[in-house]
């Protein structure tokens, strides 16, 4: 079989690429290979699915007609097992082969699950795929308590979803604060307070040492033993320590690989006509001006689009991303961008506003008069204006004193910058 474009992975990166390719080339044959039967759902909405705020239908990122409308041949429920870069050929489970002209590797990430005694018991789940969510959902009727391992984005979302279903949740984070990769201690404490008030028990500075079975059924989860020896009984364990790039298919090939697949600003890999995007790729970060893993949904879409355009022959450059998260846990909105916990603070200027009574916290970090990170908690309306200043490395020395004002806005920006923003394009 021959297909002009082949995309491995049908989630947001692959979807972004399909849309971009079809913008340029309405007819070229296009094949998407996906292990998942329904790949076009929103992964960030898994927590909404588990909490029953969304159904499989409402969590679709694109409609069911998306693939057909875009003349995509979908090979769903299939696994790409090998790529022969010399022959420009993808091998599938069952022995089928597809020749490609342009290939996109958008295989995403997989949850990192450390080896742990009892980790193979029934009731131990991850939280990044619909199939896990469906399994979790099917056990919730008989479950009363859960332990979530990992206090990052996924772990906190999972805890929120389970507590909304009436499950008693204990969230365990090894470091001394939850969400420590994206928030500082103050913001983390405020987020923790909201979680605790909603009924989640948060334990920091510890992790789960091993998972115990039930008294009457050793094969099923009955509890966990913490590093300090404490036992916590539970019916469910969610492992949410992090995701790692799914690079299995390119291991032992010539493709340049670090932790993820290295791509340039066109999302090209080191092998001609082969592109990568999303959680599997190490792409541009505009803040550090280098490549890094940034497993974030919006960046996967953007990277997919850029890859798609370039695959179809229209030049496009990936503007990059950085650590950037927008969260809402139990109605508390938080937007955090960039490095908010710098190790070396000697040349960092920090602007802070804290109104605990209103649950409002704002912090902006500046280096050489440029914004390198910020947290907006409670009041987030104008975060996007700061995001643009950060992304474009704008010198803010003349407006520094106004950045935290309630009145801060477009009018605060230097006139020249403002004019540029409203130029008719």
């Amino acid at each position: 079989m021959m297909s002009k474009y082949v995309i491995i992975g049908g989630s947001v990166g692959g979807i972004g690429a399909v849309e971009a390719i079809r913008d340029v080339d309405p007819k070229g044959t296009l094949t998407v290979i996906s292990e998942e039967k329904v790949p076009h759902y929103s992964r960030p909405m898994i927590s909404e699915y588990v909490s029953r705020e969304a159904t499989l239908d409402t969590m679709k990122y694109r409609g069911d007609e998306f693939w057909k409308d875009n003349k995509v041949q979908t090979l769903t429920g299939r696994t790409a097992t090998k790529i022969d870069f010399k022959k420009k050929q993808v091998l599938l489970d069952g022995g089928d082969k597809i020749d490609y002209e342009k290939l996109l590797i958008a295989t995403g990430g997989k949850p990192f699950v450390p080896r742990m005694e009892g980790g193979d018991k029934e009731g131990v789940f991850t939280f990044t795929e619909l199939s896990s969510a469906e399994q979790i959902e099917s056990t919730l009727e008989q479950s009363k308590t859960a332990v979530v391992i990992g206090g990052g984005l996924i772990g906190v979302s999972a805890s929120g979803a389970l507590v909304k279903r009436g499950i008693k949740v204990t969230l365990v984070e090894l470091k001394d604060s939850i969400l420590n990769l994206i928030l500082d201690k103050t913001a983390s404490d405020m987020a923790e307070k909201v979680l605790t008030e909603a009924g989640v028990t948060v334990i920091t500075g510890q992790t789960v040492q091993r998972i115990l079975g039930k008294k009457d059924n050793e094969a099923a989860v009955g509890g966990v033993v913490m590093t300090d020896g404490t036992e916590i009984p539970c019916d469910l364990v969610i492992v949410a320590i992090g995701v790692i790039p799914r690079t299995d298919i390119v291991k032992e090939t010539d493709l340049k690989l670090n932790r993820g697949i290295i791509v340039d600003r066109s999302m090209r890999t080191s092998i001609p006509d082969v592109y990568a995007c999303g959680d599997v790729a190490e792409a541009h970060d505009f803040l550090i001006d280098g490549n890094r893993l940034l497993p974030l949904w919006p960046l996967a879409h953007l990277g997919g689009r850029v890859a798609g355009y370039n695959m179809a022959g229209k030049k496009a450059e990936y503007e990059g991303g950085t650590v950037m998260s927008s969260l809402k846990y139990f109605e508390l909105p938080i937007i955090a961008v960039g490095n908010v916990n710098p190790e070396d603070t000697s040349d960092i200027e920090v602007l802070v506003e804290l109104k605990p009574e209103k649950t409002v916290y704002k912090k902006i970090l500046l280096k050489d008069n440029k914004i390198v990170g910020f947290i907006f908690l409670g009041e987030i309306d104008k975060a996007g204006i700061l995001f643009r200043l950060l992304k474009n490395h704008v010198d803010v020395s003349t407006i520094k004193d106004s950045l935290l004002d309630e009145e801060f806005g477009i009018l605060t920006l230097p006139e020249q910058l403002r004019k540029e923003m409203f130029v008719v394009n």
């Binding site: 972004g16 929103s42 960030p44 909405m45 909404e48 705020e53 969304a54 409402t58 969590m59 679709k60 990122y61 694109r62 949904w297 919006p298 879409h301 953007l302 689009r305 950037m324 998260s325 927008s326 969260l327 809402k328 109605e331 909105p333 937007i335 961008v337 987030i380 309306d381 104008k382 975060a383 996007g384 204006i385 995001f387 643009r388 009145e407 806005g409 477009i410 009018l411 605060t412 403002r418 923003m421 409203f422 008719v424 394009n425």
Partner: protein, 170 residues
């Protein structure tokens, strides 16, 4: 690119094709003509209310309708901000659920409230700060160029003609 004034009453789709040229619509702002009166916010709020009646909209509706326009003042300057229909659509790229899309028919950045979960990711990336949570805090609200009107309410009611509905050739 030349900009055409809109002829009122001559309703056109928001993006249309004229001899192979795409025409896009958006509200442009004449900063020097804005007097900061805030009427754009008032008319936007009413237009996006259920009743479209000023008294009911402001006093009785729940959830309260919100303005998708923001007036900023810093004497002597003022400016009226709303979605500028960015061509590179950062909010569409960032949307976690598929609620924000670029409508190919109209050329508008379009928000589907049914699909929105209020994750605020679009708010994080909007360079104008033109997206905000609605009053109930469940989903976002942004300028939709008043689909039920010939001319958006803010433009039609700006007393000093600081707001102009542009048609931009691409």
């Amino acid at each position: 690119m030349p900009v055409h004034a809109l002829s009122i009453g001559n309703r056109l789709p928001y993006a249309y094709n004229l001899c192979g040229v795409n025409i896009m619509k958006r509200v442009s702002i004449k900063e020097e003509a804005c007097i900061g009166c805030g009427l754009c916010q008032v008319y936007c709020t009413i237009e996006h209310s259920k009743s479209k009646d000023p008294i009911k909209a402001y006093l009785h509706e729940s959830p309260k309708p919100v303005s998708r326009v923001r007036v900023e003042t810093s004497k002597p300057n003022s400016i009226s901000i709303r979605c500028q229909q960015c061509k590179d659509t950062p909010c569409v790229n960032a949307c976690l659920t598929g609620a924000m899309t670029l409508d190919k028919e109209t050329g508008l950045v379009t928000h589907n409230p049914e699909k929105c979960i209020g994750c605020w990711t679009c708010i994080m990336v909007c360079p104008y700060g033109a997206i905000k949570p609605d009053s109930a805090g469940k989903i976002i609200a942004k300028c939709d160029l008043c689909p039920d009107r010939e001319v958006p309410a803010c433009v039609a009611n700006c007393p000093n003609e600081a707001l102009v509905l542009e048609e931009v050739e691409e």
